[in-house]
């Protein structure tokens, strides 16, 4: 009976080997010139700043956890889908169980309860990805050049206006330009 899965074994071994053989061949035939510039991380020609380890938004985690819950649900629903036809006819795997229409009802209850879970997550707004600044549920962190703090429109205006005024020397002109922009 194991030979049913021989194709799976072959497929996965070929997939596995494909990667390693290609990498091995590549390392054999590629030129090796390790200059200092060549080893740097490429970031559009700019010198790299910061680290690659960054703290993720917790919302990724929430979505992943919800995904786990529903992946498990799928695993439960496969057997249900398989047995449903047999259950109605009282044949096959469900023969003699007399479960009949209860299999359908039980499955619908199962899905219904989990759908409620999805509705809950949805209604609580954990699936909304784009949030306004006032909704944003993460810590903005320490202010720095790479981490501009959220500012209100009034603040931005207050910061930009004096500079504009100094440049043009005329408050009225400044106002009209601001409107045009």
């Amino acid at each position: 009976m194991y030979f049913d899965y021989l194709n799976v074994l072959l497929f996965s071994s070929v997939g596995f080997l494909f990667v390693f053989i290609n990498m091995a061949v590549g390392s054999l035939i590629r030129p090796k010139r390790n200059t200092e510039e060549g080893l740097e991380t490429y970031e559009c020609g700019e010198p790299t700043t910061g680290e690659t380890w960054i703290k993720f938004d917790i919302r990724y985690y929430t979505v992943a956890l919800v995904y786990v819950v529903f992946a498990v649900e799928i695993a439960f629903l496969f057997p249900w889908a398989i047995v449903l036809g047999d259950a109605f006819d009282n044949t096959g795997a469900a023969e003699g169980s007399g479960i009949g229409v209860f299999a359908l009802v039980e499955g619908v209850i199962f899905i219904g309860i989990l759908f409620l879970g999805l509705a809950y997550v949805w209604a609580k707004g954990d699936l909304d990805w784009v949030l306004g600044y006032e909704d944003r549920a993460f810590d903005p962190g320490e202010p720095g050049p790479l981490n501009p703090q959220p500012r209100s429109l009034a603040q931005i205006e207050a910061e930009t206006k004096p500079a504009e005024a100094a440049k043009h020397g005329d408050a009225a002109q400044d106002d009209s330009e601001g409107d045009a922009a």
Partner: protein, 173 residues
């Protein structure tokens, strides 16, 4: 052939799980865990449980792995400083961890090797299909099936309650 594959996969699973706990880089740990899961799935297949093997890859290899990766990303492990969650892996407490795992290993070996027989683990006449599993699930194990839906639902709500920050806090800031 099947025996050889079993020992190969068993070895793979043990090495993988050792790498999980010993490797310094958390991403290496997560990927070793993935390897362990694949070895386990193969062992399930060898034992004749095709659906279990598929579910192992689907749920553990897929969903749980993604979760672990996000946890690693969340913990901000590039800076293992105070409060990053890594300080409980310090050297002083290592002996306790070793003692606990040694005890577990001794218990396991005593359980497995203690000249026991395992009549519960009957050899399957044929590969257990989804149909066989479904027959059991809707036969004698109907109630646990429904209880599992409540469990999953509770898990979803518990997740949201724990992982979400209160909006009010964010507004105050």
């Amino acid at each position: 052939m099947a025996n050889l594959l079993f020992y190969l996969m068993g070895l793979g699973a043990v090495i993988g799980s050792l790498l999980v706990v010993t490797s310094k880089n958390p991403i290496t740990s997560v990927l070793s865990l993935l390897g362990t899961f694949f070895c386990l799935a193969t062992i399930y297949l060898l034992a004749g449980f095709q659906f279990l093997a598929a579910a192992q890859i689907l749920v553990y290899g897929g969903a749980i792995m993604v979760l672990f990766l996000f946890v690693v990303m969340l913990l901000n492990l590039g800076h293992p400083e105070e409060g990053s969650g890594l300080e409980f892996m310090n050297k002083r407490r290592m002996p306790f961890a070793f003692a606990a795992s040694a005890m577990l290993i001794v218990l396991t070996f005593a359980g497995v090797l203690g000249q026991g027989s395992a009549p519960g683990a009957v050899e399957l006449a044929h590969m257990a299909t989804i149909g066989d599993l479904a027959g059991l699930m809707f036969g004698s194990f109907l109630l646990p099936f429904e209880a599992a839906s409540i469990l999953l639902m509770g898990a979803a709500v518990a997740v949201i309650v724990l992982a979400k920050r209160e909006r009010t806090q964010a507004v105050e800031r």
